[in-house]
């Protein structure tokens, strides 16, 4: 499997490619795509759960990265985090626009996804920010961590988490809020 973050640390950096993209450099934008597309496609596919839709969402995400490149600010996070936020927002908007909730299993792409409820997260190539987040996630009680991962990685709503964990909705909501609070206190410490 490709390791986009490792590649990203070789020259040219994602930062400099975003800067060049902001100035309308299409070749730089293509390099940015080559270094980041598999990561963003992985993020999107988890949430929209269908390859055809994921490809549409990937296109929307990169068009937005192109148009918003001038707004990128390194102090707000790593380039990959910035692009992943755009990709996740496009994927979540698409998932929530659907009239009925996504089927959790039927439309999933098992080859790409493995277990539909649980991504195998790989932190080995992660940035310092990501390692700090992992440390704080590891400090949470398991049920709070599971809820946060299901939401962020799989794009589950409160209702879907409640079904997946066979736990009442109110309990799930309160686990999430407590987990988020602890995570904030840990990360901002």
């Amino acid at each position: 499997m490709a390791a986009p973050l490792k590649q990203a640390q070789a020259a040219p950096s994602l930062d400099s490619l975003i800067l060049a993209t902001a100035q309308g450099d299409r070749a730089a934008f293509h390099s940015l795509y080559r270094l980041s597309a598999s990561q963003l496609f992985g993020v999107i596919l988890r949430i929209v759960r269908r390859r055809d839709r994921a490809e549409d969402v990937l296109q929307e995400a990169y068009l937005r990265i192109w148009s918003h490149a001038p707004d990128y600010r390194p102090e707000k996070g790593t380039p990959m985090a910035w692009m992943a936020t755009i990709a996740r927002n496009r994927a979540l908007d698409w998932a929530r626009r659907r009239p009925e909730p996504l089927s959790l299993d039927a439309q999933a792409d098992p080859d790409a996804l493995g277990n539909p409820h649980q991504a195998r997260l790989d932190w080995s190539e992660a940035s310092a920010d990501a390692k700090a987040l992992k440390h704080c996630l590891d400090e949470l009680p398991k049920e709070q961590r599971d809820c946060i991962l299901l939401a962020h990685v799989q794009g589950y709503t409160h209702d879907e988490i409640s079904s997946a964990l066979a736990t009442p909705l109110g309990t799930v909501k309160s686990w999430i809020r407590r987990g988020l609070l602890r995570l904030r206190d840990c990360l901002d410490r």
């Binding site: 499997m1 490809e55 929530r96 987040l133 988020l180 904030r184």
Partner: protein
């Protein structure tokens, strides 16, 4: 260590986490456009949670993905484009009879295309509660489509084409014959935007005559009334079957 997240912060965190359902998410996005403190909380939560995406297993996209993206890139960079030329001053539109004539004519000219759009739109609420407006920068130059559903207390605003702006905001106003313009919030040039409407605004729509979009400082009008030039406007039309 605090005891619990306050409501705004919990909403910001849950918006970033992605657990909100469709209506909650749209309400949060509408608030994001108008509430700077809330937007900052969303930024902070994005900064905290986004690195999680780095740990998600990558998946190679199909080889068709890049050519489709490249083909869809705009011909020129949006950010360097000059903002649209002001149509006229607010005061002159407000008084001008020509505006009403033009707004009505433009709306009629677009009626056929619009009817098609409405026919295929998936939302199907009661017809008497629905209105549309095409906001134009000049006759035959549509820029935004506004559809309102009073019963559902929601409007959506869809941009046509490339309307991106640097360092400024578009603000949408409801124009009544005998009252001050009412702000409906900021518009996003990139997206369809869903805007929740209050009961007061909902009841004002049937007697309102038009929408207008003014160019305002980033973040919106500092005064609560339009301060910049009016770039787009259009009459409000009820939608029947």
């Amino acid at each position: 260590m605090s005891e619990e997240l306050d409501d705004s912060e919990a909403l910001a965190a849950e918006y970033v986490l992605g657990t909100l359902d469709r209506e909650e998410r749209q309400r949060a996005q509408a608030r994001l456009a108008t509430d700077h403190a809330f937007a900052r909380m969303v930024d902070d939560w994005s900064r905290r949670l986004a690195p999680l995406s780095e740990a998600v297993p990558p998946v190679e996209p199909p080889p068709t993905a890049w050519p489709a993206i490249e083909a869809a890139l705009p011909a020129e960079r949006r950010a360097t484009r000059a903002p649209p030329r002001p149509l006229s001053s607010w005061a002159s539109i407000w008084r001008s009879l020509g505006f009403w004539r033009w707004a009505t004519g433009g709306a009629v000219a677009l009626a056929a295309g619009l009817a098609l759009y409405i026919a295929v739109t998936p939302l199907q609420p009661a017809p008497e509660s629905r209105y549309v407006a095409v906001l134009e920068s000049g006759p035959g130059q549509p820029a935004w489509l506004v559809s309102i559903d009073i019963a559902a207390r929601q409007m959506t605003v869809r941009p046509f084409g490339d309307l991106a702006l640097a360092d400024k905001s578009y603000e949408l106003w409801l124009i009544e014959a005998t009252a001050q313009p009412k702000s409906l919030g900021l518009l996003s040039p990139d997206d369809d935007r869903a805007i929740p409407i209050s009961a007061d605004l909902g009841s004002a729509v049937p007697r309102a005559v038009a929408f207008a979009v003014s160019l305002e400082p980033a973040g919106g009008s500092p005064t609560g009334l339009p301060t910049g030039p009016v770039l787009y406007q259009g009459a409000i039309l009820p939608v029947g079957d």
